[in-house]
Amino acid sequence: MTQKPSWGLWWDLTQREIKGRLSHSAMGVIWLVVTPLLLLGVYAFVFGVIFQARAPENFDFPFVVWLALGLWPWLAFSESTLRAAGAIRQHSALISKIALNRSMLVISVLTATFLLQLVGYGVVLAVLELMGIHLAWQGLAHALLVLVTLYILASGLGLMLAACQVFIRDLEQVLPIAFMLWFFLTPILYAPSFLPIELQPLIWLNPMTWWMEALRSALIDGQAIPDWRFIGLLAGSVAVLLVGAWVFRRCSPYFEDFL
């Protein structure tokens, strides 16, 4: 017998995960604000000052803005996916003793991580605004929709990887490296136009490029109305979620055997 997914349980677990993340350190909520700002400072110093990284020519803002717009969505995506991938192993004690819908465990870890990183995104954008860098806020709703599709994509990948990681433990070692590589292959620290001209078409093979471009066109160009590209992101992320959920459903009865 399989247990039905329960939204109440999903939200309880997510809340618990968030509370746990915040309450286990002395300063709790304060880190939520301080960590992203420190991180932004470090990146601004290393890439802006040391490496003299520049924003693309037609970009009216400093390099940090270009970086910040892409970095936090990427962190939300990669950290939540990686944590979700380890969620089954992390909750192995629970899984071997209580019959509950296991996907709830994965999705709640993922949701908590994604939300916490989004708070960081909000803090960073708010601080940039206070520093006099005015983004195109009319594109905010569009940007949020893009982030929702990114969350759907992370859920699909997280479910798939969580199921696979139970069987193939090596993923635990491989995934962080793979995600780091993916990070550098995504135009977050640079713009696609910086690449040699013959390599530029290749960057669009990386789906994350599409998400980054969608976010920047929403918050910089102020594109308020989602267009066909958004439909593409939505369709792609939903497809990944369906495949991920299918793989997870097939594997979940046998987790106990391999944990």
Binding site: M1, G8, G20, S96, I98, I168
Partner: protein
């Protein structure tokens, strides 16, 4: 008369090979097949109807916990089908689902949610749960500071509040202290009296006999015996007592070179296998002896418990019986125990030959005997007794249910 809350048909479970993980993953994902490997539970058929209480007994590693995990849905069967109707709550292990970092109260909320209680239901039962657990202010402490008994208290209290149609417990009550155990037993008795259904694993046969009507004996992953709780638990205990004494039995085996040899040991007219008897039935032990030198040896009959504890022994020379030999030097002697008052359990009937002087044992034969019956008397033998009350006029006699 009653509907099945739980039915298992041909349920088998194999754990996947730990060294073929990648292959197992491909098989599970692309073919939708269960990974194959070491069988833990094989071909189990089991029905539990509403209002029944069933105990699952068996040695360590017999597959009891795996079976319970299959029933609760923690594990999926490799073969067969499991159907449950109605709500199920399981106490599979100490502190299952408790996060040690969180307080008892927080864990209580989470655990109740795992068991399917909504927030409003939890709020409604909260005082009741806390009162049942009875761990005082510790409810606000993190669970990692709890003793194992306190964890069980909390876990049981949540289950007690859920009042499931089917309650599944796996040897959890053994941890609580005496008073909490009694409280749990009382609760389970009340739950059963109100039509609840129980499936429990326990090594405590007394508890199983007290709480269950039926018992299932698992051995090596398969059902070895199933039926009335007294019958099954007694056979199980007898099996274990024999296993304990097996080493001794082997060293004292039948010696072929004995001078005064035993040629047969019949129990109630049957020469081989395990004899079965009810409490108060008559047992006839018939011994055949061969004497090589025409002298009549001494015959001895003994009853020991299956673990080797002597119950009774008597020899022909104690009572002035002389064996009469036929011309071939053979003799047969029968010892009859009328209305044998052995209590249910496993026993060994032993026969010995001693030299005519009654000094040295020459030969030994043993046969197992199982006494069955429904009684909660303790010990090995029923002793004649009667109850009376010296002051019957003090007040009306009351019977306490316990």
């Amino acid at each position: 008369m009653s509907d099945a809350l739980l039915s298992l048909q041909g349920v088998s479970k194999s754990f996947g090979h730990a060294d073929r993980r990648a292959r197992a993953l491909l098989k599970v994902v692309f073919q939708g097949l269960a990974p194959t490997g070491k069988p833990v539970v094989t071909d189990i058929d089991l029905m539990v109807h509403r209002g029944q209480s069933v105990g699952i007994i068996g040695s360590n590693g017999a597959g009891k916990s795996t079976l319970l995990k299959l029933i609760t849905g923690v594990l999926a069967p490799t073969q067969g089908s499991i159907e449950t109707h109605g709500s199920t709550a399981a106490l599979l292990e100490l502190g299952a689902g408790f996060d040690p970092e969180y307080s008892g109260l927080q864990n209580l909320h989470m655990n109740a949610a795992f068991l399917g209680l909504s927030r409003s239901q939890i709020a409604k039962h909260l005082d009741e749960i806390i009162a049942f657990a009875d761990i005082g202010d510790a409810i606000h402490e993190p669970v990692k500071h709890y003793s194992s008994g306190m964890v069980v208290r909390l876990g049981f209290a949540v289950v007690a509040a859920v009042k499931p149609d089917l309650l599944i417990t796996d040897e959890v009550l053994a941890v609580g202290d005496e008073s909490f155990q009694k409280k749990c037993i009382r609760w389970i008795e009340g739950y059963l009296a109100n039509g609840g259904t129980l499936l429990m694993v326990s090594h405590n046969m007394y508890q199983v006999q007290k709480l269950c009507q039926r018992a299932v004996w698992l051995d090596g992953g398969a059902i070895r015996a199933e039926g009335d709780v007294f019958d099954v638990t007694q056979r199980y205990l007898a099996f274990h007592e024999r296993k304990d004494s097996q080493a001794q039995v082997e060293t004292r085996s039948h010696g072929n070179q004995a001078q005064y040899a035993l040629t047969a040991l019949m129990l109630n007219g049957v020469a081989e296998g395990e004899a079965q008897l009810g409490v108060g039935d008559t047992l006839e032990v018939e011994i055949s002896i061969k004497s090589p030198d025409g002298r009549a040896p001494v015959a001895m009959v003994g009853i020991v418990r299956a673990d080797g504890t002597p119950v009774y022994g008597v020899a022909t020379d104690h009572e002035g019986i002389r064996l009469s030999l036929d011309p071939d030097g053979q003799a047969t002697v029968r010892c009859t125990f009328d209305h044998l008052q052995l209590l249910p359990g496993g026993y060994q009937i032993k026969a010995h030959t001693l030299d005519p002087e009654g000094l040295r044992v020459h030969d030994t034969l043993e046969r197992p005997l199982t006494v069955v019956g429904q009684t909660r008397e303790l010990g090995t033998t029923r002793l004649a007794h009667r109850w009376s009350q010296p002051n019957p006029h003090v007040g009306p006699t009351t019977r306490s249910p316990s």
